[in-house]
Subunit: 715 residues, 2 copies
């Protein structure tokens, strides 16, 4: 069937369903859709007489089910109108007569239209293929094993629809019970291509028809020779088109560039009065050392903090890149009109009192004005933003000036303050900190597009509670991830609860399950908590990318080695099997009772030379791709001695072009804290009193490297 024909046929069908005021398709309607999209369903034919039944059974080539078809008989089984598993012409003939006879005996007046001859599905593995409409991501296709057990364990995986054949195949490996599909206990595996094809075709169907809300093929019977949907359920949804002005990539970059590297900033509501937000913002801009023009705007002052003030933003001379709003909510719309008229591309809306307090109309008004003028809005309801490499603190919070490679964004102001405090206490180098607040306009995808291009940014870390446009975010992430890690803390994982759903797939598609799968597909590193987000952000840019999977643990404390091994396994990393020659080389440096193997246990009480020699072997051997060091505080090798030698050796190899991620866990008295700071500043990610954190960071780096296609086994 040609594409247009297929679409036309389904379109006509759906319109007729709508016209009848229904939302659920009947089984025969579902079959029409399935046929149009090549979704495999059991073969069936309507036989009006016994010869047609015999012929139909012959065509279906295998045992069949016969069912009476009569508008007057609702309960076919009760009427003796169903016979299952009939094979051979004689038996088909006998069964046909039997059920027609039963039907007449059941209701002499029933109109009998014939007998449906259906292919009998073989026994096989039940799987579920479906599609739902996600509030953030739109059409999403789902796959899982069928049956009660999986329903209880919710072992399902999701992808954006439509999927390619490869993506569909990858779904079979993305469930926890994936092994079942490959065959276990001597049972044959299922026909993976046939299953994937069912997924691909369903995804195509929902991508073609936004008005289809949910689809369920449940169960699909998968055998080693095919996959057939025993039942297809299609439910229509109300379409809620949200017309929004959209901006292309170049437009986004153009305005973001002026936002993050402005030459001229106006502060609307700048104030001489300490304690006012408009005072704090102006003071921070001035104190931060921003080298561009800073223009206070306030109708009731001529001069603010020593700068000439303007009655209106319209009076500000020259081009302005950013207007920072520090005025009450009710005055914002009027000022935004002036900003629009002056052609200022960015409005940073610090004020609260919009959607977050129920003032949706007020916020909608801003969006309308902004879209009319093409002004991009940051906020409202935010603390502002920092662009450290520009010495720009456009916020009422305390200034921050440690320049570095990490861009951080937060949807919530509280989390933004935590970002600031954490960065300050750990001296994390930052390229930007941005508050997103209500996200009336600018969203994570816009920022991500910019940070992807920003040469100062090497890692992007984002706290978010929702995505306005999940697909735009995925597109931006896919574009950025090959160059820079993107870490996301998605809050609200557990809050959602079940959504009302008309299908099995719908019931399985909890918000977070969808986010989790799709963010992973986009190559994003998901941080399990706030602390992880901050630590990953701080540590990922410190480590070089690994070039392969072989991780080696070198430890002075056997106890740390065991815990580090646990952490390696927990983070999906692989301990290298030490080759005999490397084993022999290592053994030359460690006591006879030390364990070469992996962890390499150099044993406690060894001098600095033993740490140094074994670390050198690990760095020098091209088969080793990452080192995890376990240090044990002793008098023989004090913390700073270990830190100094490790940093020196790592730097020496780096100069020679050998860059491998090295992380360390330091077990010891409080001096290890200073040693960790020393190491961190020199490219070794080191933590005291924990074996978990350094390996978690290494694991995150590996997840990124795989997503970026730098390692085999990448997505």
């Amino acid at each position: 069937m040609r594409d247009e024909e297929r679409v036309a046929r389904v379109r006509a069908l759906l319109e007729s369903v709508r016209a009848e005021g229904r939302t659920a398709l009947t089984a025969p309607e579902g079959r029409v859709v399935a046929d149009a999209y090549g979704i495999a369903v059991p073969g069936e034919e309507l036989a009006r007489d016994v010869d047609e039944a015999v012929a139909a059974a012959a065509r279906l080539d295998g045992p069949v089910v016969l069912k009476i078809v009569s508008p007057d008989i609702l309960h076919k089984t009760e009427a003796g109108g169903v016979v299952v598993g009939v094979a051979g012409a004689d038996r088909v003939r006998a069964a046909f007569h039997e059920i027609v006879g039963n039907a007449r005996a059941y209701d002499a007046g029933a109109r009998i239209e014939g007998v449906l001859v259906q292919e009998l599905l073989p026994a096989g593995q039940e799987v579920i293929v479906g599609a739902v409409t996600d509030p953030a991501f739109g059409k999403v296709v789902a796959f899982g094993l069928g049956g009660v057990l999986v329903e209880v364990l919710r072992d399902v995986t999701f992808r954006l629809a439509p999927v390619s054949a490869d993506e569909a195949l990858s779904m079979l490996d993305s469930i926890r019970a994936a092994q079942v599909l490959r065959g276990v206990r001597g049972r044959a595996g299922v026909d993976r291509w046939a299953v994937a094809e069912q997924i691909r075709r369903v995804s195509r169907l929902v991508a073609d028809f936004p008005e289809i809300g949910e689809v369920d093929l449940n169960p699909v019977i998968a055998t080693d020779r095919g996959a057939v949907a025993a039942d297809i359920r299609i439910i229509l949804a109300e379409q809620r088109p949200v017309p929004r002005r959209t901006y292309g990539r170049e437009e986004i970059l153009a305005s973001m560039r002026r936002l993050m590297r402005p030459h001229s900033v106006a502060v609307i509501g700048a104030s001489n009065e300490p304690g006012k937000i408009g005072h704090s913002v102006l003071r921070n801009l001035l104190d931060g050392g921003f080298a561009g023009d800073i223009h206070p705007v306030n109708p009731r002052a001529d001069d603010i903090l020593g700068r000439k003030a303007y009655k209106s933003v319209a009076d500000v001379p020259g081009e302005v890149d950013v207007a920072v709003f520090a005025i009450p909510a009710r005055f914002v719309a009027a000022a935004l009109e002036e900003v629009g008229r002056k052609g200022i591309p960015n409005a940073v809306l610090i004020p609260s009192g919009f959607a977050e307090t129920g003032e949706h109309a007020l916020q909608a008004e801003l969006v309308e004005i902004a879209e009319r003028y093409g002004v991009r809005l940051l906020g409202p309801n935010i603390y502002g933003y920092y662009s450290t490499w520009q010495d720009l603190c456009a916020t009422f919070c305390t200034p921050y000036d440690v320049k570095g490679p990490v861009a951080l964004t937060s949807q919530s102001g509280g989390i933004g303050m935590a970002v600031l405090g954490f960065a300050r206490t750990t001296r994390t180098g930052v390229s930007a900190i941005v508050g997103l607040g209500n996200k009336a306009d600018l969203d994570e995808d816009d920022l991500l597009t910019w940070f992807g291009e920003d040469p100062h940014t090497e890692c992007v870390a984002m706290h978010l509670e929702d995505l306005k446009d999940g697909r735009a975010f995925v597109a931006a992430a896919r574009e950025v991830v090959p160059r820079k890690p993107v870490v996301v803390l998605k809050a609200g994982r557990t809050a959602a609860g079940a959504r009302a759903a008309g299908s099995h797939t719908g019931a399985l598609a909890g918000d977070d399950a969808v986010y989790d799968d799709i963010l992973r597909q986009a190559g994003v590193i998901r941080a399990p908590g706030l602390e992880d987000l901050l630590e990953y952000a701080r540590a990922l840019p410190v480590l070089p990318a690994p070039q392969g999977d072989n991780v080696v643990i070198i430890t002075g404390a056997g106890g740390s080695g065991v815990l580090l091994s646990d952490a390696v396994a927990d983070n999906g990393l692989s301990l290298m099997e030490i080759p005999p020659d490397l084993d022999e080389a290592l053994r030359r440096f460690i006591p006879p009772f030390g364990a070469a193997g992996n962890p390499v246990d150099i044993t406690g009480g060894e001098p600095p030379a033993t740490y140094e020699a074994t670390i050198r072997l690990g760095l020098a051997d091209p088969r080793v791709h990452a080192l995890v060091l376990g240090y044990w505080h002793t008098i023989v090798t004090p913390p700073m001695v270990f830190a100094e030698l490790t940093a020196r050796v790592v730097a020496e190899f780096r100069e020679r072009g050998v860059e491998k991620p090295v992380v360390a866990s330091l077990a010891g008295d409080v001096e290890v804290e200073e040693a960790c700071r020393y190491l961190f500043e020199r490219g070794v990610v080191a933590y005291p009193y924990t074996t978990e954190k350094p390996v978690a960071v290494l694991g995150a780096k590996y997840r990124w490297a795989r997503a970026a296609g730098l390692l085999p086994g990448g997505s």
Copy 2:
């Protein structure tokens, strides 16, 4: 069957199996054991002629399976010797003749002993019931769902055998797929009592017969009317009795009391030479301020660090409670003989060079000497121990003197150093830090028994890699947990890999799965990592025990509220549904757009009074059992203002007898770190830059409270 008779019958059978040099029981032998222990298996009878077959089928009362019985026919199905699902005398008769005929046609010379008539099991939920011999815990009974899927997902639970009926029933709820057994999608649940009874009887069997290594009932077919084992497999194990001197509870307490509260300590190998372990130990004892007698022992000195030295411990005057060894491994045995002869109850063996370096014989020699004299050994291969309330630092590490309620133990020296550093940097109050090392004698159970009695200890935290006697540990934990939380970091979770196993249950019983279930049953809080162990140890004694399940979040930052809610769900805690009257009371203090509900979102920018009023409402309302506070750093309510008001209000209520756990997450600039310290010292568990940690601690406290029977839903 009377117990003795049952045991005698199985004993005779097992001996005959052994005599034949077999380890696996045959199916008929398995059936004999099943019958003796009342394990339900399908009814079956051997019919020697067709009339016996008809009579047997009638007695079995339902459809049956007929199988040819011939020593000459191995492949019954191939020989046409099996017919399934035969009902009614005529059909039984026909089937009997059919299979006997088939068998003769297959092999005319085969000796035919008759036909086995077996009950046909109904369709039902397949479950697995089994038992294995665990290296740490001995006989352990297992339960899980049957079938491929569960094998893949490894959804199995374990208990120490034998189990009571209640424990057996609890296993049905301990698997992830528990809901399946209760009935889903309108399917009836299984007969839980019948399933539990199968578990209980298997557990009894292995408890009675240590020589049974593994048992598999796989599958057990469970329906709403019973549970029958379709197959029973029993495998014998070599018994490896390890004769060890054991000590009773009073003996343990008597020697532990002298270890932890000694009046007189001898240091064998005390030295004047700085850098020597015998020097560090003596110096730490002296500098620590230990008020009892300290006796250096060294044959080559008269005076060490100003104290009179003795040639031999035998020369030390009066009773000695503890002999600390700081001499090379090869001299330890001889010195230990002297310690034994002098009747010193405790030898603290700091030296390494024993089992950990492969010197097993040397270690065995120490154990032999110690058992002969009844000397308890700590170590060897340890850093020593601290008993802070006695000002006792019997270790070569740096001293530690912050007295408090936490007892910490570590199997590894490296982890011990991390304990020390963490404690020092967080100023954690400690009652004891003890190194266990090779555990030649004293083990976690001995220490736990003591810490349970020690009035200074309110929380016990243990790092361990294995348990020498898991059952003794469980017994000690069960005794202590009702009074004090016991936190365990079990290292080596992922290292083990699969053990060679002859049964399904054996293959499923990974070391860690068994540890996890059984430690939980013992009421122990398992720390997922080192940092968690240390944080739980520090924080649990700070919090009072919760009196009920109702947790309320009060937050100034909506963003923190969302993350705190995630953490509450992750930790198995319940957000209270706020009653209307409390809701109304809260609303009086928060802005109209703030959210009462739970989290109670007081919104950002609120003054101290709003925090105080809402916290007061939470503490005052007896329906609220625990508070989680989310603070957002603002100019209006700076960190120390929040900390001071919170501490003040909590103290005020405590004075009135209202004690509830209060934890806090502080989001803000670096001043929040000081605020957290202030709060922690005043009974509020507070952390900066994380929403996860405070709730994880609260979750651990709740797990303990449940295990201690202080809350409904306890174990």
